[in-house]
């Protein structure tokens, strides 16, 4: 009774009315855009039955594609987890000539049409490319190998790390470093015990976004990947191929697995992030 009156009061006292309407809109909008299509994937996949699903997924080509997409994305996110913070740090802490221009460049992988990025990358790393030729001479093949897929995934993931980290670094004011110094900490202790823990939540959420983008990336990867089945073929492309073969069941099976795995990995990253956030760090 009491609780009921209370909630009633609070809805009356809201400054802007229309909670009911806007909530209904939000929920139906999300359902229409997100929930129903995703449910559709599951419904379709469920039609296969467990054994059918297993049959589709146990095919070596499918397994290799999934391994490449998820493994590559995790590895790319890990690499960006190391180098993204360095880039962000330099932009937050220092002033230098052309900083704005360089800064704008960080966003390019994000803003470019993915096909443009893909063509640029494959031209650069291809056997005749500026980087591809010398690397080839060293015996390192980038284009048309899993390494190429990985390079493209690092490329598109970088902006996520940099952009989520910058505000966090700005927030971790310089006075934190000064405080650590007055308390006797050396530089290494200041970085590992004060600055990094303070930005950990931002690091994790940046890595999560970079990972999600890399798993789902298509356009910028397929040109450089060469798409050799079982070697450099990514899962999203395989879905595309299955669809072109009118193999809807095969396509949805892969899609369902990607959906579940992505959700699981994102949930794990979010849990980590939540833990980091709960123990302080605004």
């Amino acid at each position: 009774m009491n609780a009921a009156t209370h909630s009633r009061d609070s809805s009356i006292n809201r400054v802007l009315p229309g909670f009911g309407l806007s909530m209904a809109f939000t929920l139906s909008y999300l359902s229409l855009l997100v929930l129903i299509p995703l449910a559709g994937v599951f419904a379709k996949a469920a039609g296969l039955g467990l054994s059918g699903l297993w049959h589709e997924l146990s095919e070596p080509r499918v397994l290799a594609a999934l391994r490449l997409s998820f493994g590559g994305a995790l590895l790319a996110a890990a690499v960006n987890l190391v180098f993204g913070p360095i880039v962000a740090w330099v932009f937050v802490r220092y002033r230098f000539f052309g900083k704005r221009l360089w800064h704008a460049m960080v966003d390019l992988p994000f803003a470019l049409p993915t096909a443009v990025a893909g063509i640029a990358l494959s031209a650069l790393y291809g056997p005749q490319g500026w980087l591809g030729q010398p690397l080839n001479a060293l015996g390192i093949k980038v284009a048309y190998t899993p390494l190429g897929v990985f390079v493209a995934m690092v490329f598109i993931g970088l902006p996520f790390l940099v952009r989520t980290l910058e505000p966090a670094l700005e927030h971790a004011e310089r006075t934190l470093e000064e405080a650590a110094a007055t308390l006797g900490a050396n530089r290494w202790q200041t970085i590992t015990r004060v600055i990094l823990p303070a930005v950990t939540p931002a690091l994790l959420s940046g890595a999560a976004m970079a990972f999600a983008r890399a798993v789902g990336e298509y356009g910028s990867i397929i040109f450089i990947a060469g798409n050799l089945p079982g070697l450099s073929e990514i899962a999203p492309l395989l879905i595309m191929i299955r669809l072109e073969e009118y193999d809807y069941a095969g396509a949805t099976a892969i899609a369902a697995v990607m959906l579940v795995a992505s959700c699981a990995i994102l949930a794990a990253l979010n849990a980590l992030q939540f833990r980091a956030r709960r123990t302080g760090a605004p």
């Binding site: 004011e173 006075t175 934190l176 000064e178 405080a179 650590a180 110094a181 007055t182 308390l183 006797g184 900490a185 050396n186 202790q189 015990r193 004060v194 823990p197 303070a198 950990t200 980091a276 123990t279 302080g280 760090a281 605004p282």
Partner: protein, 378 residues
């Protein structure tokens, strides 16, 4: 440990933030650095801590020349304006940080570190909050964590940057008294920065008034308040009326006065500016020795009456009069009155027109709206 500062200068580009500062702070003393923003007070504090390098001059802690000593070897307790607490650490971890980062050779054992931290938390009245995170604390509690963290390293000196700036008025009052007590019992040589003259006057043994990178005046609190060395200090320590006068030896003639004011200052003669606080003006009944004036504005607000009066030459001055006085309750706009100055200082016109004089910090709480009482001073 005492702090000795000799000829300290610090420049930012072409701007001198500190210019040849000489200052000695005795062991166990509590000193306030007071000044408007941009006066160099924070730069001076940071220079003592080593957070700001000195371009010239020396800083000594006791016999130790600390001028070139890096921050982390200076062993100063620094409380930052917004505390700079480590948000991802518990209160206990914050307080023990300075001990935990010591090289193993000098690091006390784990149990000893925790014992010391708990002792400090009792001292700053935060026992029981060891496991909290800073974002679960109130402003006052956060400040005390910062203080305990600074004290944990057994600092040579304690430095506080605007220690009460981020707190609301009530907490501020409480903490002031508490900090004063803590400083007395621990005996740390303490320097704090403030732009609030009331805070400085209430807390410090001595105040150092800074303006444009120089020391305008330093001395015991009462002395500085009663005998401001120059117009800048006078105006910085509260609102001021500036009245033109002509000096002849000890005598100061205000416009329209039949009798001179006599002060303890001697002037060779010529034009001077008489500075008087609105609260130091009283009605003098029909006393012929007092200054004739006319009331031009009157406001009765709460326990005080604020009025504006005009001298015979048009100079205006503000007065804050006690409400209960009979004369005051009879006062009306347009009335001719005679005024007495309880306390005043006179400065030569050259001093009063020196650059930087007459520009107290506008953020200064309790300060009159800018321009008050100076309307006809020029």
């Amino acid at each position: 440990m005492d702090i000795r500062i000799e000829g300290l200068s610090r420049r930012f580009g072409s701007v001198a933030a500190l210019e040849r500062i000489d200052l000695h702070i005795a062991r166990g003393e509590l000193v306030a650095l007071l000044g408007p923003s941009g006066s160099g007070k924070t730069t001076l504090l940071r220079a003592i801590a080593g957070l700001e390098p000195a371009d010239e001059g020396r800083i000594l802690f006791g016999a130790l020349d600390a001028t070139r000593l890096p921050v982390r070897e200076r062993q100063v307790g620094f409380v930052f304006q917004h505390y700079a607490l480590f948000e991802h650490m518990t209160v206990l971890d914050n307080v023990t940080f300075g001990l935990r980062v010591k090289p193993r050779r000098w690091r006390p054992g784990r149990a000893e570190i925790e014992r010391r931290a708990r002792e400090l938390l009792v001292r700053v009245q935060l026992e029981g909050l060891e496991r909290r995170y800073p974002n679960q604390l109130s402003g006052g509690q956060r400040q005390r964590v910062a203080l305990a963290r600074a004290l944990a390293i057994e600092p040579r000196v304690l430095l506080l940057d605007e220690p009460f700036g981020a707190l609301d008025a009530k907490v501020r009052k409480e903490l002031r008294g508490w900090l004063r007590g803590l400083q007395r019992t621990t005996g740390y040589t303490t320097v704090f920065v403030t732009h609030d003259h009331e805070e400085a006057l209430e807390l410090a043994d001595r105040v150092v008034i800074l303006n444009r990178g120089r020391i305008e005046q330093l001395g015991p609190v009462a002395e500085v308040y009663e005998c401001p060395a120059n117009p800048f200090v006078f105006e910085f320590l509260g609102s001021a009326n500036v009245l033109p006068a002509v000096a002849r030896g000890r005598e100061l003639w205000l416009p329209g006065a039949e009798h001179p004011l006599t002060g303890d200052q001697i002037f060779p003669g010529g034009e001077v500016a008489v500075y008087v606080r609105p609260g130091d003006v009283r009605l003098a009944g029909a006393d012929p020795a007092a200054i004739p004036a006319r009331v031009i504005d009157l406001q009765r607000t709460g326990p005080r009456v604020t009025a504006q009066a005009e001298l015979s030459d048009g100079t205006r001055l503000f007065m804050e009069l006690p409400h209960l006085h009979h004369d005051v309750s009879q006062l009306s706009v347009g009335a001719a009155v005679r005024l007495r100055l309880l306390q005043f200082r006179a400065y030569s016109r050259a001093d009063a027109q020196r650059p930087g004089a007459g520009r107290p910090d506008s953020r200064q709480p309790g300060a009159a709206p800018s321009g008050q009482g100076r309307i006809a001073a020029r």
